[in-house]
């Protein structure tokens, strides 16, 4: 039986030492270096990976955009998970923003999180429980399709059997929306709601979970 292929995603700053412990102790058929600075082909780290014959790629992320960075990492991890690979994320290297973005991606995909700053620490997460899965499909659709903020009057005017009000109540329970008193009462996205909508809009084909 063919064994599962292993993906290792390592956050990387400047020092090769940041990724060596993970590389040596975690199995990997492919290594993705996540960095916020461009790496030249002659960079010491790429040169080392070439000499060791390690299949690798560099994922350049924007250090000012933690959500965008997390999405890029998540996309790469998910792409491999879809092919049946196992994925691990080593958050040892680089600045903390990179590590937090990688942690968000791990939470979303269920990849194992590892850190080797002092000694080896490994922490497996459960598979696939990010925004994509935690947000029910029907609520994801409301979040994506409605114009925000939404007039409370408009909601009150909907028929008794309309499906939107109960969905809005569930969205309030998830702290995605709140009622604000402006000129008239308006249903607005909370900061979490805006962050989740941002995540959804940037993710291709996001459909949410089914309940």
């Amino acid at each position: 039986m063919e064994s599962r292929k292993e993906l290792l995603v390592s956050t990387f700053g400047k020092d090769i030492g940041e990724i060596v412990a993970g590389m040596r102790s975690l199995p990997h058929d492919h290594l993705i270096l996540v960095t916020d600075t461009s790496l030249d082909r002659n960079d010491a780290v790429l040169s080392l990976l070439d000499r060791l014959g390690i299949r690798h790629e560099v994922l350049l992320v924007d250090p000012s955009d933690i959500t965008g960075s997390a999405l890029l990492i998540e996309g790469k991890v998910q792409e491999h998970l879809d092919k049946g690979w196992r994925a691990r994320v080593d958050i040892t290297g680089g600045r903390k923003l990179l590590s937090d973005a990688a942690m968000l991606a791990a939470l979303s995909t269920g990849a194992e999180v590892c850190c080797f700053e002092v000694e080896a620490r490994r922490f497996p997460l459960l598979t696939a429980m990010g925004v994509r899965e935690a947000l029910p499909k029907d609520l994801a659709e409301v979040l994506r399709s409605q114009v925000w903020p939404m007039s409370m009057e408009k909601v009150r005017g909907l028929g008794k059997n309309h499906t939107l009000p109960p969905k809005l109540r569930r969205m309030k329970q998830l702290d995605l929306i709140r009622l604000e008193d402006r000129d008239s009462p308006m249903i607005c996205l909370t900061e979490r709601g805006e962050a989740c909508l941002d995540w959804m809009l940037r993710t291709n084909g996001l459909s949410g979970s089914s309940e």
Partner: protein, 214 residues
Amino acid sequence: MVAILGTLGFRAKSLLPTLESTPGVDKVVVFCNDHPRASEALAEVQGVCGLMGIRIDRVAIPDAFDLLQAAKAMRSQVRQLKKDGHEIAVFNIAGGTKMMSAAALLVCAMEGLNSVYVHDETYREIPLPLLKVDYSQLLTTAQKEILVYIWTNRAQPMTQVEIAQGMGKHKATINHHIQILEGKNILHLVEDPRDRRKKVVRVDDALELMLEID
């Protein structure tokens, strides 16, 4: 009663923007270790809280590199605050070690808290797209029973046959559930050190935190 939580490292500025931006805060809970520079940052936060009339509690994280212990300490605080009637407005995860930050993210996901990152150059607050994840709800009753049994007997890793015998269940039933649990990354099948032809079931310490089965 509104509380905010924050991991704190060497820079008070990673936490202060959240103090300023969150309305109605009357309590701040800070998680930090005993490093002298962390103590300096804490003193600065305490000074600001004093001026703003906000109570501040410090929770010591003895090992700032132990994700599991840090997450347990944080979750325990979150639950105590909720029990005491506090509304937790937000958890600022920007300060402290990478592992403290990662632990805070994990707790935010498990407890359904709003989380915010403060950019280390612009000091702009960035809300994070996290939703509550109840890991224990992902499992069936049978799967939970199997995990509790494995967790309780984790000092002596068992094969699937031994688990079936110990639980008084059919081997095929146990195999079926273990296959699903392995697919969910909750447990692993590893070579039995006593007999390399066999495989034993291994669970990680994280199970205790994530599934609350201890």
